[in-house]
């Protein structure tokens, strides 16, 4: 097992710049986490509300380092056959058929059962061998020559048993296959786990990872994100919409709008040729930001006051 060297990850500042060139604006903390993960060869467990760019972070690193991104989406009932490896049963079946046909030739000259069995044992047993192994994401990540970004998405959705399965991979970068033995990673992959905190992740798993919590961004950071993602939006609109989204997050909503929703909203406002927020416009596009009917209704009644605060902020700011 050897480790790949990436000049792009030499310092925290370099990482920030690299991310920015791919349109991912991140806080200092995120860049530090990536830097440490790379230096210490540890996985990162990313937690935070949905839509703050947890998955996007792993994707951006794959782009930045130009390495393959191998993604494993977790769900309830995910087991090792889908995550680690599977045997190619069809081929194994064919192999036994072929073996049966060739058996006569192979055992030629052997007299008696004992001698036949002894002869049979001389052939290599390839029924369980790498040739019949179908790699699934985790094993695939171990097999990459030049390293890979392994993204284990929404690990909180998987079963508890699956977490234990991950432990060997996360601490030693190896997988044990009972029939073959231990498969070590050719190059240490960078591992990202994301979690939406629907349940507590076990301490054993947390202990093996760096823990990164990504909260909703600050106004300033979110404006930078919008500037990079939706360059067509003018400055006034950008400021107003970010302020508005931030005031929405203060409300007691079922699902607060995340960065991805802010971006979507900014794009739709640009498509509608808006130069600034107007009440009617906001009302008709609110469904881009809010995903529950009751949230939309709750916001609708307070729309005027929310808008007035966000526009007054513009004047003072």
């Amino acid at each position: 097992m050897h480790t790949q060297h990436f000049p792009q990850l030499e310092s925290v500042e370099l990482i920030e710049q690299g991310f920015e060139s791919f349109g991912y604006i991140c806080s200092r903390k995120i860049a530090t986490a990536v830097f440490l993960a790379f230096q210490l060869r540890k996985p990162i467990l990313i937690e935070g509300p949905p839509g703050v760019g947890k998955t996007e972070l792993a994707k951006t690193i794959a782009l930045l380092l130009d390495t393959p991104l191998i993604r494993l989406q977790c769900y309830e009932g995910l087991d090792e056959a889908k995550a680690l490896y599977e045997w190619k049963y069809g081929k194994q079946l064919l192999y036994t058929q072929v073996l049966k046909e060739k058996l006569g030739d192979l055992l030629q000259g052997a007299t008696g059962l004992a001698e036949s069995v002894a002869k049979l044992h001389q052939f290599g047993d390839i029924f369980y061998s790498e040739e019949f192994l179908e790699p699934r994401p985790l094993l695939k990540a171990m097999q990459q020559e030049k390293g890979a970004i392994l993204l284990i998405d929404e690990v909180d959705k998987s079963d508890y048993e699956f977490e234990s399965l991950l432990l060997e991979i996360l601490s030693d970068y190896q997988i044990s296959i009972p029939e073959i033995g231990t498969v070590k990673a050719r190059t240490t992959p960078m591992v990202f786990l994301t979690s939406n905190n629907t349940r507590d992740i076990s301490d054993a798993l947390k202990r093996r990872c760096l823990h990164l919590y990504i909260p909703f961004p600050t106004v300033e950071l979110e404006e930078r994100i919008i500037r990079s993602r939706v360059p067509d939006a003018n400055e006034q609109l950008r400021h107003q919409l970010v302020e508005f989204v931030h005031s929405l997050r203060q409300l007691d909503l079922k699902k607060a709008p995340a960065i991805s929703e802010t971006i979507d909203w900014a794009r739709s406002l640009v498509l509608l040729h808006a130069n600034q927020l107007e009440e009617e416009l906001v009302r008709s596009t609110l469904n881009v930001l809010l995903k529950y009917e009751e949230d939309i209704e709750a916001t609708d009644s307070e729309l005027r006051s929310l808008l007035s605060t966000s526009s007054s902020d513009t004047r003072t700011g």
């Binding site: 530090t32 986490a33 087991d79 301490d203 202990r207 823990h211």
Partner: protein
């Protein structure tokens, strides 16, 4: 600095953050990679290895600020803005600003003048302590306080009542006694240098007091909290004062949550999964490779169901409040908990627990079901309400003292529950010796329980519920 990091981790541990040795090693790795030059960078990096939940992160940031603020002050005292605040007293006599410099010079000369005809004062002024004070040598002074604190084992401070004691001990270790004596002497002589020396003495005392306060917050606050938690969990439930009720509530919640997270993953559900090809092939070998039987990957899952019955009659009133509190927290966290309450008759209270906040729910339950005990009648009600739901996955918990006012205990109902359920558990707040005495039917009821135990403090409750959850796998 490495030992500093270990100290810091000790502090985190005392504030309820669990840090394993492996994480300590990671933290060392972080500090060597990041270095100590950028404080924020180091803070973020350490937070990632040491704090593993958002709540832990808040505690971590707080501890980090307290701990490293002071340590950095050792190295570069004048750059730290917070440091300057603390040393305002010193600054005013210090040599930083011109007008005060003259002032301090005149003070010095007053002292020197007084010391000319006073040999003990003169020798005092030559001590390193006075020299540091006079020359405003802050870093030297901090170091001296540090050393003195080490000598008197300040890190072992546990209770806030010890603060004064430790302050005095540190002052003594630094040789403040000499200063004190000199002040008394000057007082007697009514020397003009008196206020000057008094001032220096006060500055010193203030410094030490601040230092002790800081150390107390770092090392003891967490411990005190833990200490209180321990005491509370060992106190008999009916002795816990009303003012601690909310505190106990927190404790119970913590406990229930711990138990739930330890056991919740054992909830299982039966599911016909994928075809288990390997097994199907293997089992086909005797049939000449014909796959006669198919085998499936099965995920075994079963959901335990808990029915909790709580006595709320007058005889156990003090306990039932806590038992209900516990039930409430448990129902909050574990799925499929049904709660019942009774005294003369029994009814389901799960909906109260779902709909109302805890205080209100308990009050409602007590109001609706409180009264004289009739176990026979209540068991009948229970069998009517829930007997059909009891199966081999069900655990029935009964909380009560089994004092039936000499009525018919209706043991046969409990026996039929006993036969159907996976487990019947009886928790009795009375001590085992009192079971069966007077109108207690406990010994008879006990015969129809898989497990019965005395339960009158939180420690016992925790142990029992843990056992219970283990066996409901």
């Amino acid at each position: 600095m490495q030992s500093n990091l270990v100290d810091f981790i000790q502090v985190l541990r005392s504030h309820d953050i669990r840090v394993s040795p492996a994480e300590t090693l990671d933290a060392v790795g972080v500090t060597t990679t990041l270095g100590y030059s950028d404080r924020n960078l180091l803070r973020d990096g350490l937070a990632m290895t040491l704090a593993k939940t958002p709540t832990e992160e808040v505690i971590f940031l707080d501890c980090f600020d307290r701990f490293f603020q002071q340590d950095l002050a050792d190295f570069s005292s004048s750059e730290m803005p917070s440091d300057q605040d603390e040393n305002k007293d010193l600054d005013s006599t210090g040599n930083t600003a011109a007008p005060t410099e003259d002032f301090s010079d005149s003070q010095l000369s007053a002292l020197e003048l007084a010391s000319e005809n006073n040999p003990s004062l003169e020798s005092l002024l030559q001590t390193p302590l006075m020299q540091n004070l006079l020359n405003n040598n802050r870093s030297e002074l901090t170091l001296a306080i540090n050393a003195a604190a080490q000598r008197v084992d300040l890190q072992k401070i546990q209770m806030f009542t010890q603060k004064g004691q430790f302050t005095r001990r540190i002052l003594d270790a630094m040789g403040e006694e000499q200063v004190r004596n000199a002040v008394i002497e000057l007082e007697r002589a009514e020397s003009p240098a008196l206020p000057v020396l008094q001032r220096y003495r006060d500055i010193l005392r203030q410094q030490v007091r601040d230092y002790v306060e800081r150390e107390y917050l770092l090392h003891a606050e967490g411990k005190t909290q833990q200490f209180m938690d321990d005491i509370l969990s060992k106190t008999r439930l009916n002795n816990i004062e009303h003012i601690y009720l909310h505190k106990v509530h927190e404790l119970i919640r913590k406990m229930a949550k711990k138990l739930a997270s330890r056991h919740s993953h054992k909830r299982k559900r039966l599911k016909r999964g994928q075809l288990n090809m390997a097994k199907t092939l293997r089992k086909g070998i005797p049939n000449d490779g014909v796959m006669f039987n198919t085998f499936w990957r099965q995920v075994k899952k079963e959901k335990p169901q808990i029915l909790a019955v709580c006595d709320v009659s007058g005889s156990v009133a003090a306990y039932s409040k806590f038992l209900l509190l516990f039930l409430y927290s448990l129902q909050d966290i574990l799925p499929k908990v049904r709660s019942f309450a009774f005294s003369s008759h029994l009814g389901e209270v799960s909906t109260y627990f779902d709909d109302y906040p805890v205080e209100k729910a308990i009050e409602l339950v007590n109001w609706k079901y409180g009264g004289a005990t009739d176990y026979g009648n209540s068991l009948m009600d229970f069998s009517k309400l829930a007997l059909d739901d009891i199966n081999s996955n069900t655990t029935v918990i009964i909380l009560g003292d089994a004092r039936n006012n000499n009525g018919d205990p209706k043991l046969e109902i409990l026996q039929s529950i006993f036969q159907r359920a996976r487990q019947v558990i009886w928790l009795n707040p009375e001590s085992r010796r009192a079971w069966g005495s007077g109108d207690s039917e406990m010994l008879r009821y006990q015969s129809a329980c898989h497990f019965s135990a005395e339960c009158n403090n939180l420690k016992q409750l925790e142990r029992i519920v843990d056992q219970l959850l283990k066996s409901t796998r």
